[in-house]
């Protein structure tokens, strides 16, 4: 399996316009500003390097995120081996895309930083410190970021987006929308639609309850009732071998 199978490149009329993060065989994220306002509005069909059509489902300027649906045309590829995870403060990361010869690496400073605080929408992001100052932090937007441990497949944290606010000055600070936050935003968007044709991420706000933290941990574990097991398909309904007579 390719090490960077989670990385995609998007083309419009033969020109590469952005990179992005493939989160499933049929879905990917990219940085909205990389697509540009006109593309976000007109939603033309984009293409991956191998010619797979990519349709813009949803673009959101405050979060700088766009969600794409990839059209597989009956040639569903194998399941991705990419792992996704949540970054912790102090964790080291690297950008999957290399703009410079030296890969961009850094440390997570704040995993839950406010990225956009509007009246109707709040967006959280990973606030990152880069190992070197970037002349144009936006240049890396659209690149997935991943854990630096040499594991294969890598654990992907999120997608680099443009700097917070309108800043494009050189800086060693960068922002990434985590996969978890992207799924939350997408779910919120979906809930606002009259119908729900697209896949559902996990959301839902827990009711506030008076529990200690340890009590909450145990409650979340749910030891009070038997946890159903994963069960197998009945072998007689699926085996390729002929029924055995002895």
């Amino acid at each position: 399996m390719a090490r960077d199978e989670h990385l995609i490149e998007l083309y419009l009329a033969g020109t590469r316009i952005a990179s992005g993060l493939r989160i499933a065989r049929t879905f990917a994220l990219t940085a909205a500003h990389s697509l540009g306002r006109d593309v976000l509005t007109a939603k033309p069909t984009l293409y991956l390097r191998d010619g797979t059509p990519a349709h813009i489902l949803w673009g959101n300027t405050p979060s700088d995120l766009a969600l794409l649906r990839l059209e597989l045309n009956g040639t569903t590829g194998p399941l991705s081996t990419t792992n996704f995870g949540e970054a912790q403060a102090g964790q080291l990361w690297r950008a999957t895309v290399s703009v410079d010869p030296k890969p961009l690496v850094g440390k997570v400073v704040e995993p839950d930083a406010m990225y956009h605080d509007g009246p109707n929408l709040k967006v959280k992001a990973l606030r990152l410190r880069c190992e070197r100052t970037l002349r144009d932090p936006s240049a890396y937007a659209g690149s997935p970021i991943e854990e630096t441990r040499q594991v294969d497949p890598p654990v992907v944290f999120g997608l680099l987006v443009k700097p917070r606010g309108a800043s494009s000055e050189e800086s060693d600070e960068a922002f990434a929308i985590s996969v978890k936050e992207a799924l939350r935003l997408f779910e919120n968007y979906k809930m606002s639609l009259p119908s729900q044709p697209e896949p559902s991420a996990v959301t839902g706000v827990r009711k506030a309850e008076k529990r200690t933290r340890a009590g909450q941990i145990l409650h979340d574990r749910g030891y009070g009732s038997v946890r159903p097991q994963w069960t197998r398909t009945d072998p007689s309904r699926r085996t390729r071998r002929p029924p055995e007579g002895n």
Partner: protein
């Protein structure tokens, strides 16, 4: 290490650890100290060196401590404390009922199931139900739902269906807990409907479970691990009901959500990955033997999930859920790999000093078998004779639940009879006396004939489910094959006296279905099966077999005069 003096201090220590679990490396030393103190406290409780408190409220606190130990990954201490709690409760009730509260028993039953001890979980839940009926409490639906889930895991779908339906009917939605109860009962009904293959049942179960999931999410939030697990199960069932690319994409998308919400090592993430991989494997026609990039990647993903289950403190190597994953993985691998390309993979080698573990593994394999058990053995005493205290009970239980048992054993008249012992006064075996020697031998009278009698009795009790065949060919070892695993113990000697009823004297290998050993053993079984006689044929042709043995002994006469044989340097044939 500071010693923990009492239950409250133990709980306080465990709660602090749980609250600081993710605080990073700076607390690692104190965490290790606290872990050691908790383990030591549980050891002292077991040994009677720390005070035990018997009041029901305190028992509830011990149960709370078990939960905390589980959450901290201290599974051995959790199992020990569960044992100690149950043992002292049972002993306290010698003369009268002390623990009337069904919730105490229900909670302990759930914790036993969580730890994979399903048989005891069912017994404790039954006790909870008795108390609940006796003292008319609200706990009844929750206990019924737990009994349904445990029964299903124990391979008793009929009982599971009865418990689940009853749980559903008993719900009054007066308490928050009822939402969780409904989720459990409905999940059991969903799994039963998926197994039934009835589309109408499946659609109804999917709709009902979807409602249960929505209620649970409304109460607990979508990121509650139970909610995530339920949503994965629902997505997989929706794919079963309607195998569309959209439903598969939904499952894939949810798997990403579970990963980022709970982390890669969480039990629900492991199950989500296994669910997605198994669904993908079926979708790409893996069960039809299609070896392509999709089925291969699905097997790899399933193998990753299985590896994580083995490494997980919540599951681990011995948990029934892990066994299910291992069995499925072996089936998936075997389905897309031609037999002659399967690797010679050995799951475990048992040496003579590991006889108990070997027997436990075989018992477990017999307990878990849903369809057919195959056995090649020299005599089969371990499986047919109750007095050996080995597998007779498990075989009977398997037959009772509809499993077939096909057995091939050695004929007493094959050439190995040449090793028949004789007393000093009598002649060694020769063409004249060999049949009488066999007929008067302990192995014939104490093993072969009793095994045949046991077979006849079992055949009367379970007609059509058991068949014993007798082979005149030598067998190279004892082979036990269930649908998922195989065991092979080679015979190092041709002397039958040193083959049977001797424990393990060589070694035994255990392998799964994705091993070439399994395929080869199955082929060998089929050959032996075809080349052996049914009991009726054997009875009808016994005189011919005896005559053949006499003739063989005559041919061996020249060997007998060799000096080395006469001196006893080799066993006498």
């Amino acid at each position: 290490m500071n010693e923990i003096s009492d239950l409250d201090e133990a709980i306080s220590t465990a709660e602090k650890m749980a609250e600081h679990q993710d605080r990073g490396p700076e607390t690692r030393y104190s965490v290790r100290e606290s872990e050691a103190a908790l383990i030591h406290y549980v050891d002292r409780l077991r040994g009677g060196q720390a005070p035990w408190e018997e009041e029901p409220q305190r028992i509830a606190r011990y149960t709370h401590l078990v939960e905390l130990l589980l959450a901290l990954g201290l599974s051995k201490a959790a199992a020990d404390l569960t044992d100690t709690t149950l043992r002292t409760m049972e002993l306290s009730e010698i003369d009268q009922v002390v623990y009337k509260e069904p919730e105490l028993w229900n909670h302990l039953g759930s914790l036993l199931a969580e730890q994979g001890d399903l048989v005891r979980a069912r017994a404790v839940l039954n006790c909870a139900l008795t108390r609940a009926h006796e003292y008319e409490t609200y706990e009844v639906p929750a206990i019924l739902a737990n009994l349904a889930a445990v029964s299903l895991q124990l391979g008793d779908p009929k009982a599971a269906a009865v418990w689940a339906d009853k749980a559903f009917d008993s719900l009054k939605y007066e308490r928050e807990k009822d939402v969780e109860t409904r989720l459990t009962a409905d999940r059991v009904r969903l799994d039963l409907a998926r197994a039934s293959g009835d589309d109408h049942d499946l659609h109804g179960a999917v709709d009902s479970f979807a409602e249960s999931v929505a209620l649970f999410v409304e109460n607990e939030g979508g990121e509650h691990p139970r909610a995530l697990g339920a949503r994965i199960a629902l997505a997989a069932a929706r794919y079963d009901a309607d195998p569309s690319p959209q439903n598969l994409a939904e499952l894939e998308f949810l798997h990403v959500s579970v990963q980022v919400a709970l982390g890669l090592e969480h039990r629900e993430t492991i199950i989500a990955q296994a669910t997605l991989a198994a669904t993908e494997f079926a979708a790409a026609d893996g069960w039809d033997g299609q070896a392509n990039e999709r089925t291969t990647a699905a097997v790899e993903a399933f193998a990753t999930a299985t590896g994580r289950a083995i490494a997980s403190p919540d599951l681990g190597q011995e948990h029934p859920q892990t066994h299910i994953l291992q069995d499925e993985l072996a089936d998936m691998r075997a389905a897309i790999t031609p037999d002659d390309e399967l690797p010679y993979r050995i799951e475990k080698v048992y040496k003579p000093q590991e006889n108990t573990e070997r027997n436990d593994a075989k018992r477990r394999a017999l307990e878990e078998e849903p369809s057919v058990i195959r056995l090649i053995a020299h005599a089969g005493a371990s499986y047919f004779l109750e007095e050996t205290r080995l597998f007779y009970g498990r075989v009977k239980d398997a037959l009772a639940r509809g499993v077939r048992f096909n057995v091939v054993i050695s004929s007493p008249w094959n050439s190995l009879a040449a090793f028949m012992p004789h007393n000093a006064a009598s002649e060694p075996g020769n063409y004249q006396n060999i049949v009488e020697l066999v007929e008067s031998s302990p192995s014939y009278n104490n093993t072969f004939l009793p095994v045949v009698e046991s077979y006849k009795l079992l055949r009367t009790m379970y007609p059509g489910r058991i068949e014993l065949r007798i082979t005149s060919l030598d067998v190279s070892g004892s082979t036990l094959l269930t649908s998922n695993v195989g065991f092979f113990e080679p015979y190092i000697t041709s002397n039958p006296q040193r083959r049977t009823r001797r424990g393990m004297s060589v070694f035994e290998v255990e392998f799964r279905k994705d091993s070439r050993y399994y395929a080869d053993s199955l082929e060998e079984f089929r050959a032996q099966w075809e080349l052996s006689s049914t009991w009726q044929e054997f009875e009808a042709n016994q005189e011919q077999h005896k005559a053949a043995l006499r003739s063989e002994m005559g041919a061996l006469a020249s060997v007998r005069v060799r000096a080395s044989v006469r001196r006893g340097e080799v066993p006498r044939p």
